[in-house]
Every structure is written in structure tokens, then in C-alpha cells.
């Protein structure tokens, strides 16, 4: 029988994941530290490119160098939160494609709760949250922003919205893995990781036919650029500052419908990925 899910229960489940992460850090410290360094170097290399261009050219498309730094800080925070909650449960096509949902079916918890709580890695995955926070403090100081509780709440709301869009899009495309497990096993990697660099581009000054698709069909502009300008008090393209929230709601609904359909297909057809002696096809 499935457990009753309360906030306390969710926190306990997150704590279990966090504990396992800590145990990993303590038992295999060398490997975990290497992982932390890899996350840090990878993110710094990604965001520093755009920042260095801004520094060289004195800003990008009407955004000053400090504003670009602010955007890179936001992007680093998103990367950090993403890594902290992603133990393959956001790269979900990998789990579906490899037939690993079967492992989840035998747990006395709903899939939703397992997806939300299973990949929490605050110790090994939190380094970019720390770096992002430091960069954010520096950028805010350079820009002389007036920080109020409302502004901090807005920042948190935008970060949550960005994460919702990332997760919803990952689940939307990963639904294809229910129907084509081998071919689409890594489709979430292609969509999430393949576009990460693009999400660090400041779109200011670009023509609308580039900006609009990047705020709709391929929402990389919502990963850092739009939230940055909204937090600086000038949301782009005369859109409401709440546009990312509306978009997140829409894509979540769509992902929910498509993912459920895929799951229904999966429970009827199953997965053909494993041969009886354990190897993956």
C-alpha cells in the first residue's frame, strides 16, 4: 500500500537521498570531489565565454558587462539547482529507455514522489549553487540593486519557474522513449545538455525572429535572459514579467498529458531492453 504523502514525508524522502549522497562523499571521496570539480569547471567554462565577450565589447546588445555577469550568475544558479536534483530523474528518458521504471513500480510510493525526491544530491551537486550565489552577490553589488524581500522572492520564483520549464520539457520529449526505448534513450540529454550553451546567450539586440522562437518553441531565452531582464525591472519585448510563469504552466500541462499517455502505453507493452541473463539490448 502506498504511503500517505505529506510535506514531512517528502522532506524525509529528500533526507534519505541526501544521506546517500553524503555517504557517497565520505566513502568515495576522491571520485566525489572529482565530480564536484567537473561540475564546477564545466559551468565556469560555459558561462565565462559569454562574460568574456561582454567584457571585451563593453556589454552585449544594450546589456552592460555587469548585467551580463548577473545573467551568468542566474544561469549558474539554475545549473546548480538542476545538478542538485538530477540523479537521472530529470534525464528521465534514460530511465524509461533502459527499462528502469520497473524498479520504481515495486516501491510503495507514487512515481511522482519518487521522481521528485530520488535524485537529491546536495553535497556532491551543490557546488554551482554556492558559486552562483557568490556571483549573484557580486553582480548585485556592481549593479547597485536595491534588494528587498519582494525582489528575493521574485528571484526564487523565477528560479523555480526556470526549473519547471527544464523539467517539463525533459519529460515532454522523454515521452518518446516509451515508444522507442533504444532510439530515444538519450533524447533528454540531447534536449537539455545540447541547448545549455545556447541558454547563456543574451538575446538583447537580436532581431525578433530570433528572440521569439527562443521564448516559445525552443525556450532557451527563458533559462536566464528573460528572468534576468525581468529581475532588473525591464522584461523584454513588452511582455509581462509573468510570461515565464504562464509558459511554465502551459508546458507542464502539455508534458503531463503526453507523459501519461506514454506511461499508459508502457504499462501495456513493457520494456524489451533486458535479456533474461541481465544484459541490456
Amino acid at each position: 500500500m502506498a504511503d500517505r504523502i505529506t510535506l514531512r514525508r517528502i522532506l524525509k524522502l529528500l533526507a534519505i537521498s541526501a544521506k546517500m549522497d553524503l555517504v557517497w562523499l565520505l566513502r568515495d571521496t576522491k571520485y566525489t570531489l572529482a565530480g564536484i570539480c567537473a561540475d564546477m569547471i564545466s559551468n565556469i567554462a560555459t558561462v565565462s565565454g559569454v562574460f568574456l565577450i561582454a567584457a571585451r565589447f563593453g556589454g552585449i546588445g544594450g546589456m552592460s558587462t555587469d548585467e551580463v555577469l548577473f545573467m551568468m550568475a542566474y544561469s549558474t544558479l539554475v545549473t546548480g539547482i538542476f545538478i542538485m536534483f538530477d540523479g537521472n530523474n530529470i534525464h528521465v528518458s534514460r530511465m524509461i529507455g533502459r527499462g528502469q521504471l520497473e524498479h520504481m513500480f515495486i516501491q510503495p510510493l507514487s512515481l511522482k514522489v519518487q521522481f521528485f525526491t530520488s535524485g537529491f544530491m546536495p553535497f556532491s551537486g551543490g557546488i554551482n549553487v554556492v558559486i552562483g550565489t557568490i556571483l549573484m552577490i557580486i553582480a548585485v553589488g556592481q549593479l547597485g540593486l536595491n534588494i528587498t524581500p519582494w525582489w528575493v522572492l521574485s528571484l526564487i520564483a523565477y528560479l523555480l519557474t526556470t526549473m519547471t520549464i527544464i523539467v517539463a520539457r525533459a519529460y515532454l520529449v522523454s515521452s518518446a522513449a516509451f515508444y522507442a526505448p533504444v532510439t530515444c534513450e538519450e533524447i533528454s540529454t540531447t534536449v537539455i545538455d545540447g541547448n545549455w550553451f545556447l541558454s547563456t546567450f543574451p538575446l538583447s539586440g537580436m532581431p525578433r525572429f530570433v528572440q521569439i522562437p527562443l521564448l516559445t518553441v525552443l525556450p532557451e531565452g527563458l533559462m536566464a535572459w528573460f528572468p534576468t531582464l525581468a529581475l532588473l525591472g525591464r522584461p523584454p519585448l513588452n511582455l509581462t514579467a509573468l510570461y515565464p510563469m504562464f509558459f511554465a504552466l502551459l508546458i507542464s500541462l502539455l508534458a503531463s498529458i503526453i507523459f501519461r499517455r506514454g506511461l499508459n502505453h508502457y504499462v501495456k507493452k513493457g520494456s524489451n531492453r533486458y535479456v533474461p541473463y541481465g544484459f541490456r539490448r
Binding site: 571520485y31 572529482a34 565530480g35 570539480c37 567537473a38 561540475d39 569547471i41 564545466s42 559551468n43 565556469i44 567554462a45 560555459t46 565565462s48 565565454g49 568574456l52 565577450i53 567584457a55 571585451r56 565589447f57 563593453g58 556589454g59 552585449i60 546588445g61 533504444v182 532510439t183 533524447i187 540531447t190 534536449v191 545540447g194 541547448n195 550553451f197 545556447l198 546567450f201 543574451p202 538575446l203 538583447s204 539586440g205 537580436m206 532581431p207 530570433v210 527562443l214 525552443l218 532557451e220 544484459f279
Partner: protein, 255 residues
Amino acid sequence: MNKYIKTARLSAGEKTNGGILYLMPDVLIKICTLIPLIFLWRVVMSSGVQVGMSFEQMLSYTYVSAILADMLVVKTSASGWLSEGVLLKLYGRPLPVLSQLVAQTIGGWMPMLLLFSLPMALLAPLLGVNLVPATPLFFISLLLCISLGFAIDVLFACLSIKLRNMSWLIDRIRVAVVTLFSGTVIPIQLLPFGIDEVMRYQPFASLGGASLSIFVGTANAREVIALQIIWNLILWPAALLVFKKSQEGMVSYGG
């Protein structure tokens, strides 16, 4: 030679076994990154800051970088040879391992060259992109870049042998560092604070960024090629030596 061509063919076939449709997300992502990147350069170059490069040169640089991406920073299957069972395949065939890796990698380039690079090259004149190299020395530089890319890849693969189950982490660090230090996305000469002067002489700078700067005519071709030859002469013997010593330490744990 025939056996290597067959290996390359097998490798090209492997990429399309899941159907051409499977490669389409990668093609789309390449296009969707290239277009905003071109406009990003248009925006920054219109600021009027003198960087020793015109917008037309920058456009060609970015475009060629995208269509020759696989060659400008070589990546073989060796980076995952411990965890993905590649080892068994390579050592089970009566061919030298490194030569197989080269043949496999070149074969693996083919589907993307046909599906992305060729159509984009044909579209280039319509988009106003000049795809004629400033000097024929570009082709020599490209060959040296590919050769150096293989040497660097072998060195990283040997590092993954040494560190055993860290191959994924090594790959992650390598992609990030090489992307920035090779100048394939952001030309090294555009880096501020004097970083460009320091970065010019490190080995990764002799990869794609070197060939691209010769292509658009912003670098002294002879100097760049000389540097590429020097790095090839240093890193190939090192790669062969390290590979020879690493072979016995290989432990395959995947498949």
C-alpha cells in the same frame, strides 16, 4: 587500406542504425545554436570595438566552425572505451587499435557531414557567408589540427585508464576546457585582459581555432602552422608512449 575503409563504413552505419530521424535532434540543435550565435556576433561586432576582425570574417569563422565541428575538436570513442565495451570490439579485431580508432572516428563524421555540413555549405552563399579560405594553407592547418586532435584524445583516453571509473568526469571536464581553450566558439584573439596572448601558445589553441583563424585570414598562417607542427611533434610521441604503458591497465566494466 580497404579494411580501414570498411571499418569507417561500419562506424558510419552504426550512427544511422536507429534511423536517420534519430540524428535529426542533433542537426536541429546545431542549426538552432548556429543562428543565434551568428546574431550574437552581429550584435557585439556592431558595437564598433576594434578587435582586428570584420563581421564578415566572424561570420565565416562561426559558420565553418559549425560545419567542421567534429574535425576541429576530434573526439573518438576511446573516451568511453572502458565503460561502453568499446575495448572488446577494438581488441577483438586483427587491426592496430589506434588505427581502428582513427578509421572509426572518420567514419562516424560522415552522417553529420552529409546531413548538416553539406546542406549548410550549399546554403552559405544565400546567407552571404564566404566559404573560400583566405589561403590554401588552411587545408594543411586542418590536417595538422585533426592529427593533433587525435593525439590529445588518446592522452585523455589514457587518463581515463589511469583513473578507472572516472571516464565520464574526465569527458565532462575535457569538453568544457577544450571548447573554451580551442577557440572554436569564441576566437582566442577576442578574449580580453591579455588572456589571448597567454592562450595562443597552449596546445588546445592549435586545434580548431588555429585553422579557423587561417581560414578567415586573421592569423599569420606560417606561424600558426609552425606551432601546430611543434605541438604534433611533442604530443604524438607522448600519446604513443603513454598509450603503450596504459594498455595493460585497461579494465572494461561496461557493455
